[in-house]
C-alpha cells in the first residue's frame, strides 16, 4: 500500500507541475491589461501604426484591424502565415472588412532581428507582404543561418520589382534596427510574452481583444464577426 501511495504522490506532483506548465503555456484569448490600455489604445490605432511605418495589408479604411506581433523565425507564426492568413485575406481583407498590420516581435535571437530589419527594408518599396510570404515559406531552424544576411538578400532577389541595390544598402546599413527594437519594446510594454500575438480591434484602437498563439481561422472569424455585428448594430 505504501508503494502505491508513493507512486500516487509522485504522479500527483508530476501532474501538478505539468498543469502549472500547461497554464503558463496555454494559448490565451485575453484583453490587454487595464493599466496599459489607456496609453496604448492610441499607439495601437491604425492611424498611429501606419504613421509609424508598420506594414499594412488591405483597405486602410476597413473598420476592423488585426495587429500581428510576429517573429520570422517562429514556427507558429509560419503556421499562421501559411494556414490562417490566406483564409483571413480571402474572407475579410480582400472584401475590405479587415486590415492586417505587422509589428516586429523578434524574441528568437539575433537572426530574428536581422530578418525583421530586412522585412522593413522591403516595406520601403511596398513589397513587405511578398517578403513575408517568402520568409515564412523558407523558414528553417532558428538561429542556424537560414536568416543570415546573405540568405535574406537571396530571398529579396526572388521578389519581382524589388530594387536590390536599395534593399541591400538598407539591410547592410541596418537602417531599421532602432525601428525593430522599438517594436520589440512596445510589445514587451504591452505585456506580450510570446509569438504570434494578435490584437483585434476597431481601427481607432478601441475594443481590443488579444489572441496569444497560432489560432486557427475559426477563432478570428468568431471575434471579427462579433466586432462587425457590434459595429453595424451601434
Amino acid at each position: 500500500m505504501k508503494k502505491s501511495l508513493i507512486f500516487y504522490i509522485i504522479f500527483a506532483v508530476y501532474i501538478g507541475s505539468t498543469s502549472t506548465l500547461f497554464t503558463y503555456n496555454i494559448p490565451k484569448a485575453v484583453g490587454i491589461q487595464p493599466e496599459n490600455n489607456g496609453n496604448n489604445n492610441n499607439k495601437l490605432s491604425l492611424y498611429s501604426l501606419v504613421q509609424r511605418g508598420s506594414p499594412l495589408l488591405g483597405n486602410p479604411s476597413a473598420p476592423i484591424t488585426v495587429v500581428e506581433f510576429g517573429d520570422f523565425q517562429c514556427d507558429r507564426c509560419a503556421r499562421f502565415a501559411k494556414a490562417t492568413e490566406p483564409q483571413l485575406n480571402q474572407t475579410y481583407i480582400q472584401p475590405g472588412k479587415v486590415n492586417l498590420v505587422y509589428k516586429y516581435f523578434p524574441n528568437y535571437g539575433p537572426d530574428s532581428t536581422t530578418a525583421a530589419v530586412a522585412a522593413q527594408c522591403t516595406n520601403d518599396q511596398g513589397k513587405f507582404w511578398n517578403y513575408y510570404d517568402i520568409l515564412y515559406k523558407n523558414q528553417g531552424m532558428a538561429n542556424f543561418g537560414w536568416a543570415s544576411k546573405d540568405n535574406l538578400k537571396k530571398f529579396g532577389s526572388q521578389i519581382a520589382g524589388l530594387d536590390m541595390q536599395k534593399f541591400n544598402s538598407c539591410l547592410d546599413g541596418q537602417k531599421y534596427l532602432s525601428f525593430v527594437q522599438s517594436d520589440l519594446a512596445f510589445a514587451t510594454s504591452l505585456g506580450f510574452q510570446g509569438t504570434p500575438t494578435f490584437v483585434i480591434e476597431r481601427n481607432d484602437g478601441s475594443n481590443q481583444e488579444t489572441l496569444l498563439g497560432a489560432y486557427p481561422f475559426q477563432a478570428f472569424q468568431a471575434i471579427i464577426d462579433k466586432k462587425i455585428s457590434s459595429n453595424t448594430g451601434g
Partner: protein, 215 residues
C-alpha cells in the same frame, strides 16, 4: 476462477519470456537471425500478455483512458492545435501532422504505462519499481510539446538565464521531433520493463487480491 486462469497464463509465459532459447529450438535452428526473431516474438508475446493481464479489469482501462486523454489535451494545447477560447477549435495544419502523430503515440503510451504501473504496485511484492524511464520519457514529451521560444516559457528562460536560456529554448524549439522520438523510445523501454515485471516473476499475489475482495 478468473485469477486461476490468469495464473495459468503466467506459468506458461514465464519460460518463454526468458531470453535464452530452449536447447531443442537452438539445436534444430542454429542461425542467429532466427534466434533474434524468436526473442523478438517472445518479447511481443510477453507484452501482449502483460496488457491482457493488466487490462482484464475495466478500472485499469478507465485509468489508462483518462490519463491518455489528459495528456492528449495537454500535448495538443501546448502544440496550439486545440483551443478552448474564444471558440472551441481543434485543427491539424500540415506542418503539425508528424508532431500530432507522435504526441498521440506518447499520450497512449503514457495512459498504458500509468495504468500498468498502478496494477504492478497493487499486485506485486517488489518494493522497488523502476519509474526512471517512465518519468524521463513523459517529461521529455511534455517539454518537447511546448514551443519554448514562442511561448512565455521561452520568455521566462531568456529573462532568467540570458544566453543559456536562449540556447535552451532554441534547442527545445528546433529539436521538437527528435525529442519526441526519444521520449517515445524511453516510454517503450519503460513499457518493456513493466512487461518483464509482469510476466517474468511470479510475485503477483492474486490470493491477497481475492481475499481483499471477499472482505
Amino acid at each position: 476462477m478468473r485469477f486461476t486462469l490468469k495464473k495459468q497464463k503466467i506459468t506458461t509465459a514465464t519460460p518463454s519470456s526468458s531470453p535464452t532459447p530452449s536447447p531443442s529450438s537452438s539445436s534444430s535452428f542454429s542461425p542467429s537471425s532466427l534466434q533474434q526473431t524468436m526473442v523478438g516474438g517472445r518479447i511481443i508475446r510477453a507484452m501482449l500478455l502483460s496488457i491482457k493481464i493488466a487490462f482484464n479489469s475495466w478500472i485499469y482501462i478507465a485509468v489508462a483512458g483518462a490519463v491518455a486523454s489528459i495528456f492528449w489535451i495537454i500535448f495538443n494545447n501546448f502544440d496550439q492545435l486545440l483551443f478552448f477560447s474564444p471558440v472551441f477549435v481543434f485543427y491539424v495544419p500540415q506542418d503539425a501532422f508528424i508532431g500530432f502523430i507522435l504526441s498521440n503515440i506518447t499520450a497512449i503510451l503514457l495512459g498504458i504505462m500509468v495504468s500498468m504501473n498502478i496494477y504492478v504496485l497493487k499486485h506485486s511484492d517488489r518494493s522497488r519499481i523502476s519509474l526512471t524511464s517512465f518519468f524521463s520519457g513523459s517529461t521529455i514529451s511534455v517539454l518537447s510539446s511546448t514551443c519554448a521560444s514562442c511561448s512565455s516559457i521561452g520568455f521566462l528562460l531568456v529573462s532568467t538565464f540570458g544566453g543559456v536560456g536562449v540556447t535552451a529554448s532554441t534547442i527545445l524549439s528546433n529539436y521538437q521531433i527528435p525529442l519526441r522520438i526519444i521520449s517515445i523510445a524511453l516510454l517503450i523501454w519503460a513499457f518493456y520493463s513493466i512487461c518483464s515485471k509482469l510476466t517474468k516473476s511470479c510475485s503477483i499475489d492474486y490470493k491477497t487480491d481475492n481475499n481483499k475482495k471477499k472482505v
